[in-house]
């Protein structure tokens, strides 16, 4: 890879913009393909189109066109984990999520909880959840987890999350708490099939007890949902109950 192309790739990654590196396998001709256009060697239109598809699918693949094989290597921004509630479980999530590829943001307007000492190196957002969620704008590479148990904080976050493409929405709380929460969200106009997107009780059922174990259960469920694992499938009736 030429230095200029490498540096451009690293600059796009640092700016958290989706970019794809296309390589013609026969001779190593290379280009970067992004929303802003194609930079580098000439790339056939069909390959550019396939590159945008590979970015959407977030899957590296070889594509053949006009007898030439191209390797399409997407570099999407990190997955995001948005946590509402700077509580003990959030500390476990914030520690375990980065090695799994997640950039973590913790939302909590209660300064008493959301301190740099409790969350070293973690992005803390002290706005109210509705405001913070509007600014963070979760996309389909984002997971949202609410942990406060306080409807004043959790409900606006869930209300906002349900209006996004977030691939995972989880809410801490017992079955009874969750049923009451779903009733409140339904009153805000969310349909049952929309509410079924919320995973509550949150996390894989591994009999987790400690804060770290609950964080592990939540992250295992997030990974399972992202990878389409059968283990995380829930009957709609149960999810909506």
């Amino acid at each position: 890879m030429r230095r200029a192309l490498f540096e451009a790739l690293q600059a796009e990654r640092a700016a958290k913009r989706p970019v794809l590196l296309a390589t013609r396998l026969a001779d190593g001709a290379q280009a970067l393909i992004a929303d802003s256009g194609v930079h580098g060697d000439a790339v056939p239109e069909a390959i550019v189109a396939a590159a945008h598809q590979a970015l959407r699918d977030d899957a590296a693949r070889v594509v053949e066109h006009a007898g030439e094989r191209w390797f399409l290597h997407p570099h999407n921004p990190p997955l995001r984990l948005i946590i509402v509630g700077a509580v003990h479980i959030a500390q476990g999530l914030a520690t375990m999520a980065p090695p799994l590829g997640f950039a973590v943001t913790v939302i909590d307007p209660r300064r008493f909880f959301a301190t740099a000492e409790r969350f070293p190196g973690v992005t803390l957002d002290d706005r109210w959840p509705d405001e913070a969620m509007a600014a963070l704008a979760p996309d389909r590479r984002s997971a949202v987890v609410t942990l406060t148990h306080d409807p004043k904080l959790d409900d606006p976050a869930l209300d906002a999350a349900l209006r996004t493409e977030a691939f995972y929405i989880g809410a801490l709380g017992s079955r009874r708490t969750h049923a009451a929460r779903l009733a409140r969200l339904a009153a805000l106009g969310h349909a049952p099939e929309t509410l079924a997107r919320i995973r509550g009780p949150v996390g894989l059922a591994i009999e987790a007890v400690t804060a770290a174990e609950i964080a592990l259960a939540i992250l295992a469920e997030i990974v399972g949902v992202r990878r389409g694992a059968a283990l995380v499938a829930r009957p709609l009736a149960e999810a909506a109950a």
Binding site: M1, R2, R3, T23, G28, A60, F71, G101
Partner: protein, 107 residues
């Protein structure tokens, strides 16, 4: 694509800044139960430093040999490996697979 705790490109960039000669090896295709998916990277220096992986350890040695050649000539190479049953077993797989790896110099 997989997300990696270890940012192989960032490490490769640092090595280049330190004056090292660096090659990148990238998994481009796999068949069967190869341990690492397409897009997995290994960075290697002429001085022998390694970051990342293109297999569970089965083919890194062979890739490193080719990488030295690629660093010397500047000409990229496309390699194909069959992952043996024995080696696949070592990384927790029941059967073998095949992997294609593109090796290029970071010029």
């Amino acid at each position: 694509m997989t997300e990696e705790a270890e940012d192989v490109l960032a490490i490769a960039g640092r090595w280049v800044a330190e004056g090292e000669t660096v090659a990148l090896a990238t998994v481009v295709e796999t068949w069967g139960s190869s341990p690492r998916p397409p897009g997995s990277r290994l960075a290697i220096t002429a001085s022998g430093r390694l970051a990342g992986s293109v297999s569970g350890g089965c083919i890194e040695g062979a890739v490193a040999d080719v990488a030295r050649e690629v660093m010397a000539t500047g000409v990229p190479q496309l390699l194909s490996f069959g992952v043996t049953n024995e080696c696949a077993w070592e990384v927790g797989l029941a059967c073998g697979g095949t992997v294609t790896v593109f090796v290029e110099k970071l010029a």
